[in-house]
């Protein structure tokens, strides 16, 4: 076995005996289904509430003296019937008030349309003249499937990226900053094994752990999704499933992300004098991982040009989102994304190698 393999096997053995890393992987696999179950319950309750709201024949009316004051907290919406029409009061910062407003407008517009149609009929005019361009809707895919894909397109990239980073973080810091803290680094560098081989062995081990953590979290999520229904039983409940194409894209991106993050976290760990300092250096990475997934969440119809696929992490989120949502991959986007992530990984590896081969590595300790 060459020195890369020797270091890899030793690191894997040590990592598998490290409770911190095992707990991180175990928690990732267990926490995701729990979170999904809670989300499904919340979404079911919301759907049930809306269903009741929209299927009821009338608003729940309550007599109040001052509709404007009552609309602040006491009721969702306050209305006053005047000689010229209706005055409406609602607080747009309250979600329940917004829903009540939409519903009131819908009911009032239907009331107006019914009154107009009745009047026209009384005068012998066909009410269909009010709808000169009737629209028949033909959805191109199942609305329930679309809802499921939309759900996956946010959660799956988020979990993939977060776990690619955090799953191997403890192992990365242990094998770099921890090696220095335990005073084993000098002995290791005294062996005839080239430092680049030692570093590659460490990176491969951390990558394997990151990948395992990410895939464990995703597989547990998909298993949980297959058992959980979203949207309420009477309101088009749907299950969520990952297409084979999206699964292949996801695994490929997971490999690239795990390798890049491993190089980066080992480089940061090599800079640190001890494990705790390494954690402090790595903390900003959490924000970097959350930010791209947030863009997709808050700008759901974000359709970027190819230049956006050069931005590491964001590009992985976008490619995976497209693969899940449209069940198709834009190969040019995937190629640019892959090249970008490989280049990022190579730069991180170069930085780690520079740090690992400099004399200050020992002198600073």
């Amino acid at each position: 076995m060459n020195s890369v393999g020797i270091v890899f096997m030793k690191e894997i053995r040590e990592i598998l005996r490290d409770r911190r890393t095992l707990m991180a992987i175990g928690l990732a696999a267990l926490a995701t289904p729990v979170v999904l179950f809670v989300i499904s319950q919340v979404s079911t309750k919301t759907a049930s509430g809306l269903e009741i709201l929209f299927s009821s024949t009338g608003l729940k009316l309550e007599r109040i003296d001052d509709p404007a004051t009552a609309a602040k907290q006491q009721v969702d919406i306050g209305i006053a019937f005047t000689s010229s029409g209706i005055d409406e009061y609602y607080d747009p910062t309250r979600q329940s008030a917004q829903i009540a407003d939409v519903r009131l407008q819908t009911i009032l517009s239907r009331y107006d349309a019914a009154r107009i149609a009745a009047t026209l009929q009384q005068k012998g005019v066909d009410p269909s003249v009010l709808d000169p361009l009737p629209v028949t809707v033909h959805p191109l895919s199942s609305p329930t499937k679309a809802a499921g894909n939309s759900f996956l397109s946010f959660f799956l990239p988020y979990i993939l990226i977060t776990m690619s980073l955090t799953g191997g973080l403890s192992a990365a810091l242990d094998t770099s900053a921890g090696e220095r803290e335990r005073k084993t680094l000098e002995s290791l560098l005294l062996t005839p094994a080239p430092r680049s081989h030692v570093l590659i062995g460490k990176i491969l081990a951390v990558t394997a752990i990151s990948l395992t953590a990410a895939l464990a979290a995703i597989v547990s999520m998909l298993i949980a999704l297959s058992q959980i229904s979203f949207g309420g039983a009477q309101n088009g409940a749907f299950n969520v499933a990952l297409s084979p194409l999206a699964a292949v894209v996801m695994v490929w991106l997971a490999v690239l992300l795990a390798a890049s993050f491993s190089c980066l976290t080992i480089a940061l760990g090599t800079l640190a004098r001890n494990f705790r300092q390494g954690q402090a250096y790595a903390t900003p990475l959490y924000f970097i991982t959350i930010f791209p997934a947030s863009i997709v969440l808050f700008i759901p119809d974000f359709n970027p040009n190819v230049a956006y696929y050069l931005i590491p992490i964001l590009n992985a989120v976008l490619v995976l989102r497209d693969a899940i949502t449209h069940d198709a991959v834009a190969w040019s986007a995937l190629a640019v994304t892959s090249a970008s992530l490989v280049l990022t990984g190579a730069l991180c590896f170069y930085a780690a190698l520079r740090l690992f081969t400099r004399e200050a590595l020992l002198v600073r300790s």
Binding site: M1, S3, I6, V7, K10, R13, E14, R17, D18, R182, K183, T184, L185, E186, S187, L188, L189, L190, T191, P192, A193, P194, E359, L362, V363
Partner: protein, 242 residues
Amino acid sequence: MTESAVKVDRLEKTLGSNRVLRGISFEARSGEIFGLLGPNGAGKTTTLRVICTLLAPDAGSVEVLGFDTRLASREVRRRVGVVTAEIGVYPRLTARENIAYFAELSGGVDGEINGRVDAVLDRLDMRDFANQRAESLSSGQKQKVAIARAIVHDPPVLMFDEPTSNLDVLASREIREFMVEAKGRGKCVIFSTHVLHDAERLCDRVTIIHQGRVVASGTTSEVRGGYQDLEDSFLSLVEAAR
């Protein structure tokens, strides 16, 4: 005269803004214990780190068994074993796994490596705790693991950098006995210490360095000169160098 195993020639090294070594020279031979003596901060550890290729010399040269440390660093590392005061071991590996890891990284085929590990376990009387995780070992047992990993590839040059500074009396004695045994087997043993009593008992020849310069070199009796012991001689030399 025995050929030099380690030859240090006008070695200079600066770390940051600190000029640690200012042209030191000495030679250590096979079959002897060579003492590298000096107060803390004299440059002993830096010298050893240059010899074992962890640091590159700024000027001058170092040869180990004819291999230049700059040109053939891997060949040098194959021939050197280093024991330091820092007895860091991998806590989640057993004593045997710790030693085997370094044996594998030093090269050799799998069957040969197991044989080497077994041999060193026997030699250092480590069988009782060979399969215990290193995190549960005592300081003395960890020091044995540190020695074992340094000698498992049977290097002809052994360097000990303040090896007894963190050990109790019994463990320190075992280290000293090990150095004498290694010398008897024809190894070149370089012993860096500021404990002059140990140096006087063990070393055949010594070099005293102070502020990066050699202030005395020769056999132990030559360096002791007219003084009662090496410590008096050492203090006199260091005082004169100030």
